[in-house]
Amino acid sequence: MNVLKVPKLTIAVFVLPCLLLYVSMVFVPILFSVYNSTFQWDGLSSVKEFVGLENYKNILLNDPYFWPAVRRTLMYAVFSMVEIPVCLLFAILINRYVRKGNTLVSIYFMPVILSVVIIGQLWKTIYNPLDMGGMINGVLHFLGMDSSMKAWLSSPKFAMYCLYIVSLWQYFGYHLLIQFTGVQNIPADIYEAARIDGAEGFKADRYITLPLIVPVFKISIVLAFIGSLQAFDLIMVMTGGGPAHATDVISTLMYNNTFMSNKYGYGSALAIVLVIICLVFTVLINTIFKRVENKVS
């Protein structure tokens, strides 16, 4: 910063408005939630009963729906992150073999600009039972596999996987675009130099593309991770967390407790737990990537 010959005051003047806005919109609500999480409160009455860490204790020890929700949230994250290498592979292939790669990538990107509500309704129709026009069941029926037909979203066993698939489908194009741009930005002369040295095809990918793509790859991973922890709207539209909590993730559990069960304090505590989980994993991802970066480069 010192290289910039700008008085500290000027910097402060430019930074302050945003900083204040940020603090008031982000930190203050978090602090309020921390405060509220120590009460038993219905969100309406003026009577708040201070219960200390009781809410946290109940979440961690007594809530039968919390740990399964954590598991589903993390599964969501894992699935979203596993998608990224596939996106990278596609990006490399498109970059190498497709003439107008941009067009193809734009087409893949289309689901991202659709509203989640539309996506949810669309996929609900795909998953519907046969008599309601469900496409998957229609195909199964056509193939004579009637025994595998199901009301997919109403099956406690499959509903959650159905939701993962929708998310993967929607965000495939998003991560493909990021990876594709990353791959395109690697200067062509590096490859040319490598070719002279005898590195082509997969060898070039291993020693040039992969090391240089790591920062972009990391962005995708972090975005996918954050996105899946926030997963809420799609689940709300498609299953509402049901049947009977089978598709509850932390955010829907928090919503239902706060607004449906009027347990405001408990909901706030859940929110704080979610924040902590996010923090822990973001730090974890960063550490891992620092190692990977050091290793490949």
């Binding site: 609500p29 219905d42 519907n128 008599d131 109403s154």
Partner: protein
């Protein structure tokens, strides 16, 4: 350069961490930030209001002052009779009282519930809003957010237009806090054509007959009972009707609340078993738990399902659908020989309530008084008067009401008692546990003792 990149990374890291935090907490925090301030200003407002209402006469003569009343409501559908009624009455009142402007905030039911909760957190509820009866509105009353309406009910006999006992659901400690837009009962609508197709000659009077009919319909490839169980209240409403029968009469939940019974009671497990029998017989559409309430109703209204077990408020909608004229209604059958056919699940309607902190309390009361006085007449005109909670003058048949409407009105005449929906009786936390427990029955077979235990645990944990 290297440093710059690192710094950027560090910033990015912080930003991403904070962003997640913000998004995660944003939802739960949005209602709370103003609480302390809101509480204080709410207090001063109330003080100001008591002042202004004591010299209301003075304020009323001071009529040059423009007053805007916000009217939050749950009638957003411009094609529905309820929405027409709302607009016509508001227009009429505004033309008679040029200094009053009524601003409509029309939302669908779930949005309104959520918006009101958020507004209530800030003590900023609209002048007129919608609350649901009994246990659902109690938190608002306890938080002193609603104004008592006794004076306005007594002032011109408005109170006597309501059916006897109906206002009790909206009254606490002798004060009435809301005026209902209806009073309905749960009935079984059935499609006569589909019944004939399945060779069913008479409506079922017992649960065993109902199961037999379900199987007969199913065998013909007809969905026996329409339901949209993504909105969990629908299944609960049906389940409660079974419980009303197995308990031999109303009051099971009240007895639980009073500590005289608990959910492990045989009446409760018997009801769960009966309900599961329906599910096992294939009574409900496949994938019911991912169908929302409206779509569930449409299965019946498009002639794809034979029965629809729901509140009588659907009468007008069914008459406006493609199955109009083919539909009849009967009361829910007895279960294992228990229960009384003249007892119904009662559904006192959503109630209009006035904010205790309203800046124009007197004007708002005057408007609501006008609105509710005209309400039954207008409803009757719009052919939507089945299930109105007030005395309706006029001959339904002569006015051209459908056979189904007359059929329902006849059922009303026999009502000798009943129960309220689960979420109108128990607090929201217990109700949520119940709703998801019942939803679970749609997707897997559960031991009824386990269901009872889930209920009892939730009840004990959220007293």
């Amino acid at each position: 350069m290297e440093n710059q990149v690192k710094k950027n990374h560090a910033i990015k890291k912080t930003v991403s961490v904070l962003t997640i935090g913000a998004l995660a907490v944003g939802l739960a925090a949005c209602g709370s930030s103003n609480d302390n301030n809101g509480g204080n200003s709410g207090g001063t407002n109330t003080a100001a209001n008591t002042g202004s209402s004591t010299n209301a006469g003075g304020a009323a003569t001071d009529s040059g002052k423009k007053v805007t009343i916000t009217f939050q409501n749950i009638y957003p559908d411009a094609t529905s009779p309820a929405n027409k009624l709302l607009k016509e009455l508001v227009a009429q009142y505004e033309s008679e009282h040029p200094n009053i402007k009524i601003e409509l905030d029309s939302l669908n039911t779930d949005q309104q519930k959520l918006k009101l909760k958020t507004q209530a957190g800030n003590k900023e509820i609209p002048d007129i809003t919608i609350v649901n009866p009994a246990a659902q509105m109690k938190p608002y009353v306890d938080a002193k957010l609603l104004a008592p309406l006794n004076d306005m009910l007594d002032q011109n006999g408005l109170k006597d237009t309501f059916q006897k006992g109906l206002l009790d659901y909206y009254s606490f400690d002798g004060n009435t806090y809301a005026l209902p837009d209806g009073n309905n009962i749960e009935v079984v609508y059935y499609n006569k054509d589909l019944f004939t197709q399945a060779g069913i000659s008479d409506v079922p009077k017992t649960f065993d007959e109902l199961i037999a009919d379900v199987k007969a319909l199913k065998a013909k490839g007809i969905t026996p009972i329409a339901i949209g169980e993504k909105d969990t209240w629908t299944g609960s409403f049906l389940f409660m009707n079974i419980l009303l029968r197995t308990n031999g009469g109303p009051g099971f939940l009240q007895d639980v609340l009073d500590g005289k019974k608990d959910f492990n009671d045989p009446a409760f497990t018997e009801a769960v078993d009966a309900f599961q029998e329906l599910v096992q017989a294939g009574a409900f559409p496949e994938g019911a738990t991912s169908i929302d309430a409206n779509a569930g109703g449409n299965i019946f209204k498009t002639g794809k399902a034979a029965m629809f077990i729901i509140g009588s408020w659907e009468t007008g909608n069914i008459d406006a659908s493609s199955v109009a004229g083919k539909v009849g209604a009967f009361t829910f059958p007895t279960v294992n020989g228990k229960g009384d056919l003249n007892q119904f699940m009662l559904a006192p309607g959503s109630g209009f309530a006035i904010s205790a902190n309203s800046k124009h309390l007197q004007e708002t009361k005057d408007f609501l008084n006008f609105f509710m006085t005209e309400f039954p007449k207008k409803k009757f005109e719009l052919k939507d008067a089945v299930g109105v909670g007030q005395v309706v003058e006029g001959d339904f048949k002569a006015a051209g009401y459908s056979d189904l409407a007359i059929n329902i009105l006849d059922l009303f005449k026999n009502v000798s008692g009943g129960d309220l929906a689960f979420d109108n009786t128990m607090n929201p936390a217990v109700a949520q546990a119940h709703l998801s427990s019942i939803q679970n029955l749609f997707v897997q077979k559960v031991d009824s003792k386990q269901v009872a235990k889930e209920h009892q645990d939730a009840f004990a944990a959220n007293k």
